[in-house]
């Protein structure tokens, strides 16, 4: 799942240009239809359409295949179970449902920027403004997504550290440092949000923008170009360094 979070690439495909509300409605509509309809022809048709939609967003191949592989394995296991029970139509229906919903979700992930998603969630959460500012709800969703790869990184580092100490079979040596570091990361993130003045109990929304400095007061251009970074394995953007 982790790799999927970096799927978005700015492009000019129809799905990229479609508004977020339309994409979410499409996901909802297709999900309901796939669950409600068990006709094999319709299932095959919807699955093919969803896969085509995913391909139309030109997502990064490796990450997409990695994400889909997991779903395909689950679908294959479910299909095998249904085949073993002799329910051939149900087997096709379940596999189709899983693959089509996953493909469509991936298509939306790869064609929607987090900023656009944040705006959508903020708008959607407006009726809840008496409970929590919509901006805060949007930031909460972003933070949740941001925290997943970070938590995975912390867990990996804890596992490596435990192995280095010869404690790779000791669950406590992995879980305790992971838990404490995750809490530490959450605290740091909270401080960073506070320092950046993001989601400050709705007061931010009422803030009067300060005009950007003009003329002689404008921020002078800074240094020409930063150092060229070293190659990072697996970084698809390395060539632009």
């Amino acid at each position: 799942m982790i790799s999927l979070l970096g799927l978005y690439r700015p492009r000019r495909t129809p799905l990229h240009r479609a508004p977020v509300w339309f994409k979410m409605l499409l996901l909802l509509g297709i999900s309901i239809t796939t669950i409600a309809v068990s006709d094999p022809v319709t299932t095959i048709g919807i699955t093919a359409a969803c896969l085509l939609l995913l391909a139309s967003t030109l997502p990064p191949l490796k990450a997409t295949l990695k994400g889909m592989a997991f779903i395909i394995v689950i679908a294959a296991l479910t299909t095998l179970f249904q085949l073993w029970r002799g329910e051939y139509v149900r087997a096709l229906d379940l596999a189709g449902d899983l693959i089509s919903i996953a493909a469509l979700a991936l298509a939306i992930t790869s064609s929607t920027s987090m900023g656009a998603m944040l705006d959508f969630i903020t708008t959607l959460a407006t009726p809840l403004k008496w409970i929590l500012p919509p901006e805060t709800i949007g930031v909460m969703v972003s933070l949740t997504l941001r925290s997943i790869p970070e938590a995975a990184r912390i867990l990996t580092e804890a596992r490596v550290a435990a192995r280095a100490r010869g404690l790779d079979r000791d669950v406590r040596a992995i879980l305790f440092p992971s838990a404490s570091r995750t809490v530490g990361f959450a605290l740091q993130l909270g401080q960073a949000l506070h320092a950046r003045g993001i989601a400050e109990h709705g007061r931010a929304a009422k803030a009067t923008p300060r005009p950007a400095p003009q003329g002689d007061d404008a921020v002078a251009p800074v240094l020409p170009s930063p150092p060229v970074r070293e190659a990072v394995p697996g970084d698809p953007e390395n060539s632009t360094s």
């Binding site: 979070l5 970096g6 978005y8 690439r9 700015p10 920027s113 987090m114 900023g115 656009a116 944040l118 705006d119 901006e135 930031v139 972003s142 933070l143 997504l145 941001r146 790869p149 970070e150 990361f185 740091q188 993130l189 401080q191 960073a192 949000l193 506070h194 320092a195 950046r196 003045g197 993001i198 400050e200 007061r203 931010a204 929304a205 803030a207 923008p209 300060r210 950007a212 400095p213 921020v219 002078a220 251009p221 800074v222 240094l223 020409p224 170009s225 930063p226 150092p227 970074r229 070293e230 990072v232 970084d235 698809p236 953007e237 632009t240 360094s241």
Partner: protein, 235 residues
Amino acid sequence: MIEFKEAAVVAPDSGVPILEPTTLTLTEDRISIIGANGSGKSTLARLINGLVLPVTGSVEVDGLDTQKNGAQVRRKVGYLFTDPSAQLIMPTGVEDVALSLRRVIKNRKEREEAAMAALKEIGLAAKADVSVNALSGGQRQLLALAGVLACTPEIVVADEPTTLLDLRWRAHVGALLRSLPLQVIEVTHDLDSAARAERTLVVDLGRVVFDGDPKEAVGIYRDLMFGRATQGATA
């Protein structure tokens, strides 16, 4: 102008003093803060944008009390952390800088254009759409700085911004901070960088033990550290 008026901080549970009552007026454009680990220098820096609030006394930025006008103070004072990973929230650089701009620019397209301009200015335009996880430590720190500068603060407080960076990025980020036409307060272990400031504060055991000429401050700090090391070795 930043004014500390008998500002003191204590640990919330134990009541142990973290920063003794401190009175300072900071007007210089380049101020460095040096001191040992755990001496209270980060607490001193965090008081400036209200990340830490004084238990007694007050801290004011241009007459705004950090306790009463926290949000306004944070619009004036940008804060750069040691570890940029904790400061970056959105998946890509341009989105992260745009997040900082949400409170001032409501239109998404305009916001993204402004974010792109901020990245271009700092030399990260080519990495605008790259995942923050794929950036090097130096690039992440630059991105965090771009997020801070995009909000046009009047003061930047940088808490050991180069500690996690290699030599070339340390030089680059250091030079970048020095080139900013803003008041920059840098907490640092890099004594060369500290010595380039106009004024240096030495913090030790929760007190500002020296406030003045950077070169003299570095000498005092060295004496403090080596004196303590010698005491430790002979004890």
